[in-house]
């Protein structure tokens, strides 16, 4: 990172006389993209004053399902314009002399995204059912988005079939067979919804990807997987057991019951929820997460981005497969 060039970029974009930056710190989390907090002092112009920005940029390696950063920025901006709680997106920069990879800047939001801190009763003073309702309302809004950056699929296309085919393609590229994932996918194939439904989806909407403080929901993060799908994919992902972080009885993200979340979503203007479709996408969620865990593990094994965290994800497979078997009558 060329700090002087980054300061000049901030000055230009904020129409300032000049800008100084400092105290650059890597933020925790972000298994695919990297985030850095940057203190900026802007002199002159409409944004004069002290700020903390977050710079988001691709890591040394990536996952196949993520969207390019310019599209992610456009989606993030579209969410901001739809009045969804997100950090205010500011400016995108392509690969340049500032950084070897593209990046974008957003305003920093205070709060925590740490699941165990959020879900531990009484740890943060957060009322879990209220937070579940706020998230349900946000998700209903997300499903109304129509970001121009991401092309809407043809109505004749089918998100469930597309999901299954994508997973088969990924399995076919792997060096070894995964019979439990095949079994889960075959179950999906035989039990898929008959009519396709489409909405714009976050596709990583889960506990761990939103910020909260004592007042409740602050911001929804990590839009790198966003795209068009069946809106039940987001609901299934949010409710999947693998994202409940030690609170398995509270199905909706470890926060509340499915009933609370479903009602909140529908009352906020979301489409009527079909529990059968949610069941389909909860199973799909475990299969998708299993494939992502394998791909993350590959990033370590290939040497592209050696990190213990990624290596350990490869050993997460057994518990995901255990759930897949439980959901398909195999356990």
């Amino acid at each position: 990172m060329n700090e002087a060039a980054l300061a000049a970029f901030i000055a230009t974009e904020s129409r300032a006389r000049n800008a100084k930056i400092g105290n650059i710190q890597r933020l925790a989390g972000g298994a695919v993209k990297q985030s850095w907090a940057i203190a900026a002092n802007i002199r002159g112009g409409p944004m004069a004053g002290s700020h903390i920005f977050v710079l988001r940029t691709p890591g040394p390696s990536d996952l196949p399902a993520t969207i390019p950063l310019d599209q992610e920025f456009a989606v993030h901006r579209s969410a901001w314009q739809t009045a969804i709680a997100v950090p205010e997106p500011l400016w995108f920069a392509p690969q340049s002399t500032i950084m070897a990879k593209p990046f974008y800047l957003m305003r920093h939001c205070a709060g925590t995204a740490e699941p165990r801190l959020i879900l531990e009763p009484g740890a943060t003073g957060i009322d879990h059912p209220s937070l579940a309702l706020a998230l349900a309302s946000s998700l209903a809004k997300i499903h109304t988005m129509q970001p121009p950056a991401i092309r809407r699929p043809a109505l004749s296309d089918d998100p469930a079939l597309r999901f299954i085919q994508t997973c088969y393609d990924q399995l076919d590229q792997r060096p070894s067979a995964h019979p439990v994932l095949e079994w889960g996918l075959r179950h999906l194939e035989r039990n898929r919804p008959t009519l396709p439904l489409w909405a714009f989806c976050h596709r990583d909407f889960r506990t761990g990807n939103y910020l909260v403080d004592e007042g409740g929901l602050v911001a929804i993060l990590d839009w790198e997987f966003a795209g068009w799908s069946d809106p039940h994919e987001d609901i299934g992902w949010f409710c999947a057991k693998c994202w409940r972080f030690g609170a398995p009885r509270r199905a909706a993200g470890g926060l509340a019951s499915r009933a609370v979340f479903f009602t909140g979503y529908e009352q906020a203007g979301g489409l009527p929820i079909d529990p059968g479709r949610v069941e389909f996408w909860e199973l799909a969620a475990h299969i998708r997460w299993a494939l992502i865990a394998l791909q993350q593990s590959d990033r370590h094994l290939s040497g592209a981005e050696p990190r213990l965290e990624f290596a350990l994800l490869g050993r997460r497979l057994a518990q995901l497969e255990h759930e897949i078997l439980a959901m398909t009558g195999g356990a």
């Binding site: 925790a28 070894s176 439990v180 075959r186 965290e309 350990l312 057994a318 255990h322 078997l325 195999g330």
Partner: protein
């Protein structure tokens, strides 16, 4: 008594030291990474013990493919292909054997990777 500590003994001692002595002193920023190291050591210890005990994953494959002498990666690939093609869609002995095998193989790996998982 063994004359020198084996790999499992060394790894176990290293993990105990990490959990009991080092982790409590780590700053908050490094704590998650310390926990990851402890987890990796625990999995490695169980992995070594399972191999030493002669636990062989995929033993149940011979129930599905009795003609195959030594089921291995090729048999596993064949199984995956046949699941996708629908060979096990209908209830019956083949499907029961498949699910028995999948359950057993998954449970064996889960016992190593995350034995407390429920």
């Amino acid at each position: 008594m063994p004359t020198q500590p084996d790999a499992t003994t060394l790894l176990s001692a290293a993990r105990d030291t990490l959990v009991e002595v080092i982790l409590p002193q780590l700053p908050a920023a490094a704590r998650t990474q310390g926990e990851h190291v402890a987890l990796a050591l625990a999995i490695a210890i169980r992995d070594i013990a399972a191999a030493a005990n002669g636990q062989i994953i995929d033993t149940g494959l011979s129930e599905i493919y009795p003609q195959t002498q030594t089921p291995g990666a090729t048999t596993l690939q064949r199984l995956a292909t046949e699941i996708r093609a629908g060979r096990f869609d209908d209830p019956g002995a083949q499907r029961t054997a498949l699910l028995t095998y999948l359950r057993q193989a998954t449970a064996e790996r889960l016992a190593i990777d995350n034995p407390e998982y429920r």
